[in-house]
C-alpha cells in the first residue's frame, strides 16, 4: 500500500495547524473523508483537499510534499506510524509525540519535538529555538525519545529537558541545555553562550570546548564506561553519530550548574 501523500497545492499566507493529520487520527478514513477534515489557517478553517492533493491510502505512513515553514504542528501527539516531510516544517513539529518516526528533509521552526514523550524526530536541515524544550510556562520539556538534527539548532536547545536524547551534528545557539532536569544533549559543532544555564542534572556531550560559566566546576579528565555504550546505541542512525570514528570515552568533566543543584555535567572530548 502506498503512503498517504499530501501534496501542498498553494502556500497560504496564514499559518496552518496540521495537528489533525497524524496517523492515529486518520486510521480507517478514506481519501474523501481525509479531504473533508478542516484545518485552522489563521481565522479561517480550510478543508484538507483545498490545501493538498491527496493520493495513497496507507495512513500509517504519511508523506507531506511541498511543505513549507508555515505548516505548524506536523505530527503533534503522533502515536505510532511514520511521517515524512519533504520541504520545511513550521513550528511545533513532533510536539508531544508518543511514538513513531517523523523525518523532515528540510528545516523546522520553533519548538520542534517540544514535550515529546517517545519516538524519533529526524531533521535533515536546521532546527529553530527551543528544540525538545518545554512550552512557555511549562516545567518539563522532552520526556523521552530521540531527536536528531543534521544541521544547526537555535537557542535554548533542550530547555527543561526531562529525559531522552538530542543529537546535533552542527552548531547550537545560546542557552543550550538551559534548565535541564535530566537527559542527554550531544553537540558535534560549536555551542553558544550560557551553556547549561541552571541545569540540574543530565549530560551535555561536546566535541568542541565551550565557553563555560563560572558556575561550572572542573572535575578533571576521566574515562567513562557508559560512553561507549551510548555511542553504540547510535549505530542504527543514519547520521555521523553512528560512525566509529566519532566515538570517544575520554572526557574532561565539568559539574554544574552550581547555581542550581549542580548534578549536571558537561563532558568535553579530549
Amino acid at each position: 500500500m502506498s503512503a498517504l501523500t499530501l501534496t501542498l497545492k498553494t502556500r497560504p499566507d496564514q499559518r496552518v495547524d496540521m495537528s489533525p493529520l497524524v496517523c492515529q487520527k486518520l486510521e480507517n478514513l478514506d481519501p474523501a473523508q481525509i479531504g473533508a477534515i478542516k484545518l485552522h489557517c489563521g481565522k479561517k478553517k480550510l478543508r484538507v483537499d483545498e490545501l493538498f492533493t491527496i493520493s495513497g491510502f496507507d495512513t500509517k505512513h504519511i508523506l507531506i510534499k511541498n511543505s513549507f515553514a508555515k505548516l505548524d504542528y506536523i505530527g503533534k501527539d503522533l502515536e505510532d506510524g511514520i511521517i515524512h516531510v519533504e520541504g520545511d516544517a513550521g513550528a511545533y513539529c513532533g510536539m508531544g509525540m508518543k511514538s513513531g518516526v517523523i523525518k523532515v528533509f528540510g528545516n523546522t521552526g520553533l519548538y520542534a519535538g517540544c514535550e515529546m514523550k517517545k519516538g524519533q524526530l529526524e531533521i535533515d536541515g536546521n532546527a529553530g529555538d527551543f528544540l525538545g524544550g518545554a512550552l512557555a510556562g511549562n516545567k518539563m520539556g522532552m520526556k523521552g525519545g530521540l531527536i536528531l538534527v543534521k544541521g544547526n539548532a537555535g537557542d535554548r536547545v533542550g530547555d527543561h529537558l526531562r529525559r531522552g536524547t538530542i543529537l546535533i551534528e552542527g552548531n547550537v545557539g545560546d542557552y543550550c541545555g538551559s534548565r535541564m532536569i535530566a537527559g542527554t544533549i550531544a553537540v558535534m559543532g560549536h555551542t553558544g553562550k550560557f551553556l547549561g544555564h541552571s541545569m540540574r542534572r543530565g549530560t551535555l556531550l561536546l566535541w568542541n570546548t565551550p565557553k563555560l560559566s563560572a558556575s561550572f566546576n572542573d572535575c578533571g579528565s576521566h574515562t567513562l564506561a557508559f560512553l561507549p555504550m551510548l555511542f553504540n546505541s547510535f549505530k542504527g542512525l543514519n547520521s555521523r553519530f553512528a560512525e566509529n570514528e566519532i566515538a570517544f570515552n575520554r572526557v574532561q568533566r565539568y559539574a554544574g550548574d552550581m547555581a542550581e543543584i549542580g548534578r549536571g555535567e558537561v563532558l568535553i572530548k579530549i
Binding site: G144, A182, T184, R201, A225, F226, P228, M229, L230, R263
Partner: protein
Amino acid sequence: MIINGVQIDATFAEAFPMKGTRAIITAQNEKWAMIAAQAMTGFATSVIACGCEAGIERVLSPEETPDGRPGVSIMIFAMGGKGLAKQLETRAGQCVLTSPTSALFAGIDGGIRIPLGKNLRYFGDGFQTSKVISGKRYWRIPVMDGEFLAEATTGQVDAVGGGNFLVLAQSQPQALAACEAAIEEMKKIPNVIMPFPGGVVRSGSKVGSKYKALNASTNDAFCPTLKGSSKKTELSPDVESVMEIVIDGLTKEDIDKAMRVGIQAVCDLGVENGITRISAGNYGGKLGPFHFHLQEIMA
C-alpha cells in the same frame, strides 16, 4: 545399561523448582572480571545454608559484553524470588561494587525485573546519576577508582535446581579425575552452573537427620566407609569413593544436556580407569517434580 564398562543405574535424579537470574560482570581485563565473579559467587554452594546457589557460567569475550570489555557471566539460583533478589543485591554490593574497574549488567532481558544496580545507587550518596541507553536504565555511581556502572535491573525466571549424578569409583583419585573430566565438558553447556567447589561435591546429603535441628545429613547409603554398617548402603565391595555433581539450570532441557555430556565424559574414562557405576540422588519422588532418568538421558 552399561557404557564402556560403567553401569548406569536405573534410577533418576530429583530436582525442584527454583528462581534463577544471570548477571554479567565486566572489568578492565579478564583477571579482574573473574575476581569479582568469584567473589560474587562465593559461599553459594547450597541453599541449605548459603541462601542461594551461584556459579560462574562462562567467560565472555569483549564482543559479547555490553560495554565491550572482557567479562564473566554468573548465575544465581534461590528457592524464591524474594530470597534471590536479596542475595543478588547483597552480593553485587559487597563483591562487585567493591571490585576495581568492575561494571555490572543484566544477563536476562525478559522475566520479572529484580534490582541489580537500582538500590546500589544509594551508595552514591546523591552524586549518582542514571542514563537510559536503548531503553535500559544504567546507574553511574561515583567510586574512588572512577565510576561504577550498573544496569538497574536484571531478569528473574523460573529455573530448575538440584539436577545431579553420582560417580562411583574404585578409588578417591579416580572418582575425582572422572568428575574433573565431567565438569570440563559440562562447563561448555550454556544456562547451567555446578555450584559446589570446582563443581564437585563429596558430601552428598539426604533429607533429614537423627538430630532434630538438622534438615540434611550425610548420604550414608553412598558413604563407602559405611558399606558394612549402614542398612541402606547401595555400594558394592569394590566401590571406595563416591562423588556427586549437582547442576542448576534455567530449564530441564539445559540440565538434561549438561548431565548427558557429564556422564558421557565419565563413561569415556570407563571401567579401566576405576569407574564402576553412575547413580543419582533421589528421594522417592517426594522432593521435586523434575525427574532426570539416567538411562533415558544416556539412551
